[in-house]
């Protein structure tokens, strides 16, 4: 077990190193020089050089890479070229929106999807199953920004239960903060829940035809009890994989939804920074996202081992 854990950690480390190189190199290739962008087209040659020096852009590329990585290791992500404030502060603020939003959406999608998938599998082939599958098909097909706009129209404009956008912040209480994240979270969760419900359903249907389910019935368990105590945990293994992938997507893929709801999240930060050639911010945020993806994969790997004793023994 310890070795498995250790091996996962090493994999995690190398993935991060590899990702940091890719990110650094690809942003170097992008045309556009931050210094000249900041100073505008009429800037003097020597001012640009001076600014470059100030920003540390005159140093050799390899050295800049090392400085960047070294900084991240000690928690110093550098200073934004445009806003002249530490990247860590900017990211920190945004993270307090994006992370809760991702978790909120993931919880919503899991809480809705698993029971729906289980219910559909248990009623396989009946009208209920068909209607659920139909709805999830729609859920996957609808673009989520459009769904977001529908939500705003219904709940913010007609019913006036939620505000149409913006973020209330956490200072005035968790409830208020959560309230302003609710519509975006629903919009994000819908397609995810649809996918997850379908995965849960097909995975459980596979399990239901397994011999051990018949054994469970022959022991005297009712269909429902057999489903709960023998079916679900077995069906959960492929579902875990999808949940892991979805979290990564929710962290990084919320750019459009953040824009629809005017949320000051990471997605919008990246978007703005790219437009302003604020490379140091882009690099750091992407690195952070990569880190979260890798971390979630790591957690999913560990979760497999907890769920499945066969894996536990093969790694001992």
């Amino acid at each position: 077990m310890l070795e498995y854990f250790f091996r996962r950690v090493v994999t995690l480390f190398f993935t991060l190193v590899f990702a940091s190189i890719i990110i650094f190199v690809s942003l170097e290739i992008i045309p556009g020089d931050p210094a000249s962008y900041m100073l505008g087209i009429n800037a003097q040659e020597d001012t640009v050089i001076a600014l470059k020096k100030e920003l540390g852009l005159d140093k050799p590329k390899f050295e800049r890479y090392l400085i960047w990585v070294k900084g991240m290791l000690i928690g110093d992500f550098g200073v934004s070229y445009t806003y002249r404030s530490p990247v860590i502060e900017m990211v920190g603020e945004r993270l307090w929106v994006s992370l809760p939003l991702a978790i909120y959406a993931l919880l919503l999608s899991t809480i809705i999807a698993l029971p729906v998938g289980i219910f559909a599998a248990a009623n396989r082939g009946k009208i209920l199953d068909f209607s659920i599958m139909g709805f999830t098909q729609i859920g996957i097909a609808i673009p989520n920004f459009w769904f977001a706009m529908l939500l705003v129209y219904l709940f913010a404009i007609i019913l006036r239960w939620f505000s149409a956008g913006g973020f209330a912040g956490w200072e005035d209480g968790i409830i208020l903060g959560l309230k302003s994240l609710t519509l975006p979270a629903i919009a994000l969760a819908l397609p995810q829940a649809s996918i997850l419900a379908r995965v849960m359903r097909s995975s459980l249907i596979d399990i239901l035809s397994e011999d051990f389910m018949k054994t469970a019935r022959a022991k005297g368990l009712s269909f429902k009890k057999a489903l709960i105590s023998h079916g679900i945990r077995n069906a959960l293994i492929p579902v875990l994989t999808i949940i892991g992938l979805q979290f990564s997507f929710l962290m990084a893929g919320a750019i459009i939804i953040e824009n629809v709801f005017f949320l000051p999240g990471l997605g919008r930060l990246i978007f703005q920074s790219i437009a302003q050639r604020d490379i140091i911010v882009v690099e750091s945020v992407i690195m952070l996202l990569v880190f979260s993806v890798v971390l979630v994969t790591f957690i999913v790997d560990i979760a497999y081992v907890i769920v499945d004793p066969r894996l536990r023994s093969s790694i001992l």
Binding site: D211, F212, T215, K219, S222, D308, P309, R310
Partner: protein
Amino acid sequence: MNLIKVNNLNLSIHEKEILKGLSFEGKAGEILGIIGESGSGKSMTANSIIKLLPFGSSVTGEIILQNKNLLETSEEEMCTIRGRDIGFIFQEPMTALNPLKTIGEQVSEVIRIHKKINKFDALNSAATILDRVGLPQTDFPSTRYPFELSGGQRQRVVIAMAIAIKPKLIIADEPSTALDVTTQAKLIKLLKKLVIEDNICLIMITHDLSVIAEMADKIIIMRNGEIVERGKINILKNGLKNDYSKNLLKASNYKSKNLNKKISNQTLLKVDNISRHYSDNSFRFFGEKKVFKAVKNVSFSINYNENVGLVGESGCGKSTITRAILGLDPIINGKIILEGDEIKASNVSKNIRKKLQVVFQDPYGSFNPRHNVLKLISEPLYLEQSQISDYEKLNIVKELLERVGLNAEDHKKFIHEFSGGQRQRIAIARSLILKPKLIILDEAVSALDVSIRAQILDLLVELSESYGLSYLFISHDLSLVKSITSRVLVMKSGQIVESGNTKDIFNSPSHAYTKSLIASSPNLESSLRRLT
């Protein structure tokens, strides 16, 4: 007093008649054998009794268990009857247990469903029951997971669940079919012991007459959903009336026509000191790689016109040898030589492929379902040097189809239109088309019903005589090898432990393992002799 009485049981699934007017009964302390080939409805009979039937089933008649008609019992009440009054043992021990729960949890669950008992006490009684079926806590603690046990041990866990709260009726659906012969012998002994000790009525469902002859008191023989023969076990000896059951008995006791061919003294295939190890390929920081030695320094040879048997239980390395000879899997040392050419996994020449063919256990899985029989059989012809016209191909295939006992016009059909036995005939036709020197028969008849199996064995004997073929006949079943080979190799844990003339080995085995294999393989003849 009958414990269970089935009266005029009819079952249809989606309007299709599966069981027709079955009636039989069983007493406590009695073993009732239900015998039938695939499709006879024997498993559906078992499923009807516990009322776990597929969607769209409709049942009529009476199933009376301890004065209660199960067919009129609600599903809710059935849940209290299953497990408590009826125990069930399944065919596939590898998949009958939940992989994520320990064996203790799974056995104790039966107790907790039917009795008010706390988890700890239930686990304790589970341990006692596991001990009773031959899984003592010292060697098999109840915290083990199913994947940590072998097939035979898992089947013991399934039996433990079935007997956990001493039901009066136990239904066993082919409980030993998927197991090796030595394991099977032990399980049969265990079941017989439990029947006597707990005064159980055991309904034993099987296709294997030799298994039933060793244990049953009464038998029913089924065909196409009907009972064609019934009576005390000794009717097997000289009381069978129905033609089908007579044929079944004859096929089970099958002896192929005696091999009558002159074995050449020239070597066709030489397997010289080969080994194959498998290691897990994962990268490790600590410790050495685990290496599994599947085949260890195995040598043997096959002469022209000779049939050699290779016998061993699952996991002994038989399949690894097949793969090595076919050049599908590299060997780590040694040589395999066919007519002077070395077979190397990296590069198997067309010339070698032409001389060497294989027939696998599962004929269906080895055919592309989208090709017609003409294409399936003629496919190996691409190995021929010269181009063969379509007309010629068709004629060759037609001739072969007739040669293996099928209709020449079957070449237009697709594989799903054939039965298991017919598919195996097609597989044999495909292996013959290049006129090979050696055919490897890898459990080629193991999955077939006995009556079909007898026919295929006859065909194989006949073909080997008329084409001058050599066979490497691989099987876990000694009795099959006996009839078709002149020499046999016995394999255990990757090594050949004994080899020699087939008759000599059967009459006087010298290695302890061979002895136990012969002793435990169910022998219909000797069982019948014991019957009065």
